[in-house]
Symmetry: C2
Subunit: 227 residues, 2 copies
């Protein structure tokens, strides 16, 4: 399968509480985003990568690449929302791809096995998309519109990770028709009726850097794996 990878890193990291968006913060001496790119390169050496970053961050990123001797993938500018950023990347592609993988730039610890699982699931022609998922460990509550909340059965829920893999033609069609923003691409695909989404085995280590604490956690996971 001819695959292309989109790495989305255009967020401002408003939840992170730092001036510098989380994807540019150092993790074991290198920006988080470089880890994410490197991991995807290792998992799929043959696939091209499009990196989506904020236009305001291009000079910073180029400076970081020079400083760390890092070869950047081709760059596309992000939009106001995550979905706009993915759309910009998709519409910039001129190759003919079978599948497209979308990965969060803030998931620097994704492992080869996790990527291979989603790609393997796409070999079934009937599948529209394949996404890594892990059980939810905390109890969950749903907050209703009136502000009250209620219990839900957590065993029926999965926490979704990236990379998420999709049929290229369907992902492009979905992004052509749906204008709302979603927190992941599987949601947007389903909004377009492409709902044959398969869950694959994610990894507890494939965390998303969200809070400053997560940088330290990621460093610790990295040191464990090397030990």
């Amino acid at each position: 399968m001819n695959a292309h990878i989109i790495i989305v890193a255009a967020g401002s990291g408003s939840r992170f509480g730092s001036v510098l968006p989380k994807q540019y913060c150092l993790l074991a001496g290198r920006p988080v985003l470089m880890h994410s790119i490197e991991r995807m390169r290792s998992a799929m050496p043959g696939a091209g990568i499009t990196l989506v970053i904020s236009g305001a961050m291009v000079d910073l990123w180029r400076g970081l690449c020079a400083e760390h001797g890092f070869r950047s993938p081709r760059i596309v500018f992000g939009g106001a929302t995550r979905s706009e950023s993915v759309r910009n990347a998709l519409f910039s592609l001129d190759g003919d791809y079978d599948i497209i993988l979308v990965h969060d730039g803030a998931r620097p610890l994704v492992d080869v096995a996790c990527v291979k699982e989603v790609v393997a699931a796409m070999s079934d022609e009937d599948v529209d998309g394949a996404i890594p998922a892990v059980p939810v460990t905390d109890s969950l509550r749903v907050v209703r519109s009136d502000g009250t909340s209620g219990t839900v059965n957590r065993t029926c829920y999965r926490a979704v990770q990236t990379p998420q893999a999709f049929r290229a033609d369907k992902l492009i069609k979905a992004y052509s028709s749906v204008k709302d923003s979603f927190s992941d691409d599987a949601s947007l695909m389903e909004q377009s009726g492409y709902n044959r989404i398969v869950l694959t085995v994610g990894s507890p280590a494939n965390i998303k850097i969200t809070n400053p604490m997560d940088i330290a956690i990621a460093e610790h996971i990295l040191s464990m794996k090397q030990g």
Copy 2:
């Protein structure tokens, strides 16, 4: 308010994948459970504590307490499920309490602020229970009975932590009538119609030790806080 604390630590830790249940594993040199007890003691120095552990683990626990010079709370034996364990503790109480807090023994990093928030929320007489919650950072999917899965809006969900505080009389009534097992006590309260449950601000650091990796993460969070 006259408060009592129940710390639930009777699980076998089947998801943890270790012979020793997670609550007895060492975290910064001491069993996880000792941290959980110590944190609750610091947050509510005046409150009594009932500790629920498996009957099979009592000798191990007493040995650990002797080894670490740790004063154990009163012990009640656990049941086959988490809810049975809480029920055993509740029905063993002979004091007259206004509120009861239930805390997971596998949450060793709960902080004073988090405990004080749930207790403060209980000062509103109309509230049946108060539970700490944090936003869900991963995208969520619900798995249907036919094996397919679908998107849910994660902004409508919260991940629930402990300690959870409840009116003592209502919690006891709920446990007297409901026989199913639940992953948290708020769910069981609601099953009995006590659905005025308030969400308070939880802490990202208040993780539940679920995977072996979580021990290392908890050690790292501990070292950051001391640094």
